[in-house]
Amino acid sequence: MADVLSVGVNLEAFSQAISAIQALRSSVSRVFDCLKDGMRNKETLEGREKAFIAHFQDNLHSVNRDLNELERLSNLVGKPSENHPLHNSGLLSLDPVQDKTPLYSQLLQAYKWSNKLQYHAGLASGLLNQQSLKRSANQMGVSAKRRPKAQPTTLVLPPQYVDDVISPMLLVTLGKVLKVIVVMRSLFIDRTIVKGYNESVYTEDGKLDIWSKSNYQVFQKVTDHATTALLHYQLPQMPDVVVRSFMTWLRSYIKLFQAPCQRCGKFLQDGLPPTWRDFRTLEAFHDTCRQ
């Protein structure tokens, strides 16, 4: 607490101001004592009145003097520093009940800890990116997604950031073949659901239905493949490249019902058309035919 208040505060003037307050209090109480005591016993009435008035004026002058002294000293004391690292939450430090609600000290600790965490996470991601990301290393892919994209130096965030994190949703319609609901999480794609062109994508309320699966097996399969594609197209530093690659991959499904499998040459396998699209070449394969 002391380190917050000490910046810009003149301690010497502070203690002098406190004594000046005490002096002021005593001179004010002297005024009231004088009034209470009334006039002293003198020979004539005039003498008594004069003595009383003189005494009263003396006391008021001393009150005035002490008040001026106090004002002068209070200007020297200065204000406590406004540069709280946590802005308004620094005012929490003024709460005197430290034992029961140690809010401010806990807040400071949490802030320092999260800063350190961000720093270490940045170092770790730099090291991990040097390794090649294979499909089998799913956990790596997931943790790369969950890291925030930027490294804010303070935790003071504009309110729009909070709104953006609450996931926006896209409805992508591909020709007359299928519809895709893409749920984003800040700038990364979180989930996708693929449904048929003639299926309803809205709930009864009129909102986008992001949970119910397609009624057709072929689109359930494509949904699984799309989820795999999300894990494949990963690039934490360039989310726009990720989204573009994913959309290009998705667009290859325009010929879902027309393209035969590149491996076996047939259209149907177990009643399904070629639902797999290679990530590099975008060729069509049956799920069971892909290498």
Binding site: K176, V177, N198, N215, L272
Partner: protein
């Protein structure tokens, strides 16, 4: 929806159908008759719609959802009866093949067709040959009724159309003993829906109809190859060619009328064939 349509004009009932299709249909059907008096009988008035609590601007939308049912691209073909076997035995062979493929039974279906021709009294002095109109029903769209001409428009209306046909006895006469229908079982295999039915006219079985629908697709011309491969897997050499309704219509969304046209062509073909003898020789 299950609404009952109130009778709102003397002797006429409201009918839910698409206005444009209705105009084309009536034009062809009753070319020499003054149709103005009949139009109001076909399309519900605003009072009628508000009585049913349907917004007038939403009629087409309701019409689509209500009457179309599932409209997936499908191919209707005829399966010739196997040599030395009856119709029923051939159907059993087919269904066994399907079950071996892995298809599951899913209820029954029925498609029926009645023929009408324009009455002689309405032809006037022009001496036109009576046109044939087919009124069909499909259990996949239980709330709908289909009325089509051979090369002409197809009208999709709700089941009040049957009632209307009774009232239009003066203009359309039912051809004698013309009712033909196909009934059978539905099978589901992955996203394919297969319907194998026995075609009957009156008491006698006249042939076998096979319909295959592919649910996920919406444009017919896209998935013909898929359908063909599937048909080959259980029909073998009896696989039909591409239906005429598939044609060269790229990007045109398939509708239930296209299925009914295929059924109409099938029924006409079967009507012209000789009756399948009960025993043996073909």
């Amino acid at each position: 929806m299950g609404v009952t349509w109130p009778v709102y004009e003397a002797g006429a009932t409201g009918l839910l159908c698409e206005r444009k299709a209705l105009a084309g249909f009536l034009g062809t059907a009753l070319a020499t008759v003054d149709t103005r008096s009949l139009t109001s009988a076909f399309y519900p008035s605003k009072e009628c719609l508000s009585a049913m609590r349907i917004d007038h601007s939403r009629v087409n939308e309701i019409y689509q959802a209500h009457l179309y049912g599932l409209c997936n691209p499908g191919c209707v073909s005829q399966m010739p009866v196997a040599e030395g076997k009856s119709v029923q035995q051939t159907v059993e062979l087919l269904t066994k093949k399907l079950e071996m493929l892995g298809a599951e039974k899913q209820g029954t279906f029925c498609v029926d067709c009645e023929t009408y021709h324009t009455a002689a009294s309405t032809l006037g002095s022009q001496g036109q040959a009576g046109k044939l109109m087919y009124v069909m029903h499909n259990s996949e769209c239980p709330l709908s009724c289909f009325a089509l001409f051979e090369n002409g428009p197809c009208l999709i209306a709700d089941t009040n159309f049957d009632v209307l046909m009774v009232k239009l006895k003066g203009f359309f006469q039912s051809a004698k003993a013309s009712k033909i229908e196909t009934r059978g079982t539905r099978y589901q295999y992955c996203d394919f829906l297969v319907k194998v039915g026995t075609v009957t006219m009156g008491p006698s079985a006249r042939g076998i109809s096979v319909e295959v629908e592919y649910g996920p697709c919406v444009v017919a011309s896209d998935c013909w190859n898929l359908l063909l491969e599937f048909l080959q897997s259980f029909l073998g050499s009896h696989t039909p060619g591409a239906p005429t309704v598939f044609g060269n219509r790229h990007d045109v969304v398939y509708g239930p009328a296209d299925t009914m046209i295929q059924y109409m062509e099938l029924f006409n073909k079967i009507r012209k064939q000789q009756q399948v003898p009960v025993a043996g020789i073909r």
